[in-house]
């Protein structure tokens, strides 16, 4: 036979290269910049796309095979969970508040990431990152869907889940993660990769998925553990993509270093603020806790982050500007945020509560330098008001930070008794911020951040016009069912009644 048959067995790397890298070609009928129009405007210089190293070399056949295995496991577990009324095995239905926040605030972010990675998967003029981004795009829609599917059963028995799609676009606290993902998607492809691929996936998602999911297991929620860990197995691929992407940019041209550093500074802080929600989920909303937010931060933030930034130092990268302030804020943020949620719980589609004595003892043990000094007295005061029949409610509106969109409830670095508040003026308008870092981010790109949709002012505009009842209807929040204190809620009474039925004759 004339055809020369090469019988040499290709290595994994060579084979992968033929099955991906080699598929593309240099276009000659169209100009490359017309096919990839967004590849250069951010100023990132790439000289040689072939220098991209693929960390996980998955071809589609292997992808389908392994992902199908994960899917079979996942749906078997959530089906069994639903059939067996697994929700009655939870330590306590209070725990569900964490899941409600997850569904309203985080799952939509998974979808946004799906869409964003589909865009970068098309816009990078290099096959290596394109294929990796495309796989991440399809993984991210998986995460959105598995989360909705896992929580669908809870929605049938408990309040607060039913309006998540409306709340994603309208309720005040979801605009924190929404603005984060919108910000990333409004950025160019390279910045998107730093925002989601690097900052969110590599530096921060461990904090969300690993200790929190371990906590879900601890609280009897096998359905959430399963989606969490199953998603996180994809995240391992995503994290390596994020890390590779940052190395690639830094190695391609020294001019990229300051741009990348600016994005690291920005996106670390943006991500850290979003995680404010997670800190309260971990410290306050898990009836049985595996570790505190502070302990999780020490392992997955501090230790892991330092390892990473030590490693990147050889390129001239330093830890993010907000790194030190973040480390200090970790001892305060969950308490400050839970206090805020509690006083505004008329406007949340989940319950909050005054921590029990037992909870408070745990918190003082975990936060020896801050809890008893600053936060226990506030909770004790709120408890007293509650006992006197005058529960503490704040119907006033907080100022939202123009950048991160959280209410400005955080304190000054170095002074936990003074609220931190920053302002700036741009084209004759005043803008408010929760911190120096959020103000700095605004000042880098004011034209972007003046566009932010702020949920609080919306209350006074059409169609709400300051009417609280109309607002609740508009955000699909059922007053007296979805919101308020957990004590005395439908969720509490249903759960206790059903548990009673399950444990007695």
């Amino acid at each position: 036979m004339d055809t020369p048959v090469n019988k040499k067995k290709l290595s994994l790397k060579e084979k992968y290269s033929y099955l991906t890298r080699d598929l593309a070609w240099e276009p000659s009928y169209q100009k490359k910049e017309d096919l990839f129009p967004y590849a250069t405007y951010e100023g990132i210089k790439v000289h040689d796309w072939s220098k991209w190293e693929d960390p996980f070399r998955l071809t589609m056949d292997a992808y389908w095979k392994y992902q199908a295995e994960k899917e079979r496991k996942f749906y078997a577990i959530i089906d069994a969970f639903a059939q067996n009324n697994g929700h009655l095995k939870l330590t306590d239905a209070r725990y569900l508040s964490a899941l409600k926040i997850f569904l309203q605030a985080i799952s939509p972010g998974e979808y946004a990431a799906h869409k964003g990675f589909a865009r970068t998967g098309r816009e990078f003029p290099g096959v290596g990152p394109q294929v990796a981004c495309q796989m991440q795009a399809i993984d991210e829609i998986r995460h959105a869907q598995t989360q909705i599917h896992a929580m669908s059963n809870y929605n049938k028995f408990y309040n607060g889940f039913h309006g998540f799609a409306d709340q994603r676009d309208r309720i005040w606290y979801t605009s924190v993660p929404r603005s984060f993902f919108d910000d990333a998607m409004a950025s160019g492809p390279f910045e998107f990769m730093i925002a989601i691929g690097f900052s969110f996936e590599y530096v921060l998602t461990n904090l969300l998925f690993v200790p929190f999911m371990s906590g879900a297991a601890y609280n009897g929620d096998m359905s959430t553990v399963t989606f969490g860990f199953s998603a996180q197995s994809d995240e391992a691929r995503h994290m390596t993509l994020g890390l590779e992407c940052i190395k690639f940019m830094l190695e391609q041209d020294p001019d990229n270093v300051p741009i990348v550093q600016k994005w690291i500074d920005k996106w670390f802080w943006r991500g850290f603020r979003v995680l404010g929600l997670v800190s309260t989920m971990m410290d306050y909303m898990l009836p049985k806790r595996v570790m505190s937010w502070r302990e999780a931060w020490d392992i997955y933030g501090e230790e892991n982050g330092n390892a990473l930034f030590n490693d990147l130092a050889r390129y001239g990268i330093r830890p993010p500007k907000g790194w030190g302030d973040a480390a200090e804020a970790v001892d305060h943020m969950s308490h400050q945020f839970m206090l805020a949620l509690y006083q505004w719980n008329f406007g949340t589609a989940f319950h909050s509560w005054i921590p029990s004595d037992n909870d408070m003892d745990w918190l003082s043990k975990k936060y020896p330098n801050t809890f008893d000094k600053y936060y226990r007295p506030r909770w004790e005061h709120i408890k007293k008001l509650e006992a006197n029949g005058t529960p503490f409610k704040n119907y006033g509106l907080a100022k939202n930070c123009q950048t991160c969109q959280l209410p400005c409830v955080f304190t000054e670095p170095g002074d936990p008794t003074t609220l931190c508040h920053r302002e700036t003026e741009y084209k004759g308008e005043h803008y408010h911020f929760c911190s120096d870092h959020c103000r700095d981010i605004f000042q880098e790109e004011p034209e972007k951040y003046v566009q932010a949709w702020l949920p609080m002012p919306q209350l006074f505009q059409e169609p709400i016009n300051g009417d609280l009842e109309a607002w609740m209807k508009w955000v699909s929040l059922v007053d007296g069912e979805d919101n308020g204190d957990y004590q005395g809620s439908h969720d509490q009474t249903s759960f206790e009644k059903w548990r009673e039925m399950a444990t007695s004759n």
Partner: protein
């Protein structure tokens, strides 16, 4: 504490999520519905894209197609990630079994020489065309509007990548690394492939996500797959002793049959929405099918000596009949 919860019968307090109850009534929703409808942000978008400030982050006006509700474009296969992935995992097991069958018996070495040559010449350069399809579907997903329309585009993009990898493996099996190199050279330089490459590059320059969908999935694949896989591989090559090659392209044949259900469904609903839509669709289909036919002809000519024009025009007729059934007048 051990609770035997199976014995408890408790009444659910609601049947489904609010947005699904509004669309489908107050009844339990399917997993396809839960995972697809309204899961994309719809209002109060925060910022305009820095890459094109004229666009919204999710923008239905990037296309000339107009829909009152983009969620009308349901995927008849009802693919969400899980059903999609499980379907492909089963198919890839078959492909693996077919490759293993061929390799274990050395069938690739028993193929007549000219069949090997023709298979390499015809199939391996197509891996680049499949990569172009991947780019186009990724774009349609990234910039299209409404999850029920865009999520199958992402699945399709991954299928296109899978197909380009299967085609590459056929090349490696029948001709080693050299076969891939020769095919790439043909794709870049051989005159028989230039009309197709130009067409693929031109489709990659389209930024209207729906036009990309039409040019790629409806028109180009709609003509290329029946010609290449049904006519040339399954019929012509198989009749000349190339059955083993047909085993290796079974995925593509089945995939095309399946994906027609989706593309037909999308066309039908879009055309029925308004006369304007139907006109735009007809314009696109006419334009791109003229280009596709002239791109496919020289490829067929390079492996087949006779009845080439006849065969391609029969397939074009079949294609036009298929489009007519979706309510579009060409």
């Amino acid at each position: 504490m051990q609770i035997d919860v199976r014995t408890v019968s408790i009444e659910p307090v609601r049947k489904t999520f609010d947005h699904l109850a509004r669309r489908f009534g107050n009844k339990p929703a399917s997993r396809y519905q839960e995972g697809s409808y309204d899961i994309q942000a719809a209002e109060n978008l925060h910022y305009r894209p820095t890459w094109d400030p004229d666009q919204e982050l999710y923008d239905p006006n990037l296309s000339r197609i107009r829909m009152k509700d983009w969620y009308d474009l349901k995927d008849p296969r009802q693919f969400y990630y899980s059903t999609y992935t499980l379907a492909r995992a089963r198919q890839q097991e078959n492909v693996e079994a077919n490759f293993a069958f061929v390799e274990a018996r050395g069938l690739q070495d028993m193929l007549p020489e000219d069949i090997v040559e023709k298979s390499l010449k015809l199939l391996v350069p197509l891996r680049h065309a499949a990569w172009g399809a991947n780019q186009n579907n990724t774009l349609a997903c990234g910039y299209g509007y409404g999850v029920v329309f865009t999520q199958p585009c992402m699945y399709h993009a991954m299928d296109n990548l899978g197909i380009s990898q299967y085609l590459s493996r056929i090349g490696l099996l029948l001709g080693g690394v050299e076969a891939l190199e020769q095919a790439k050279d043909a794709w870049l330089n051989d005159s028989a492939w230039q009309a197709l490459r130009r067409l693929v590059e031109d489709t990659m320059a389209i930024r209207d996500p729906f036009e990309v969908f039409v040019a790629q999935n409806v028109v180009l694949d709609g003509l290329l797959y029946p010609v290449v896989y049904e006519r040339l591989v399954d019929t012509y090559l198989a009749s000349q002793g190339g059955q083993a090659v047909a085993m290796l392209t079974q995925f593509m044949t089945n995939w095309f049959t399946e994906s027609k259900k989706w593309t037909n469904g999308v066309l039908k609903v879009t055309a029925a929405e308004s006369d304007e839509n139907a006109k735009v669709l007809a314009e696109w289909i006419n334009h791109w099918s003229d280009r596709a036919v002239s791109a496919i002809l020289p490829i067929v000519n390079s492996v087949l000596d006779e009845r080439v024009d006849e065969m391609v025009s029969e397939e074009l007729e079949a294609f036009r009949a298929r489009i007519a059934k979706t309510g579009i007048q060409l």
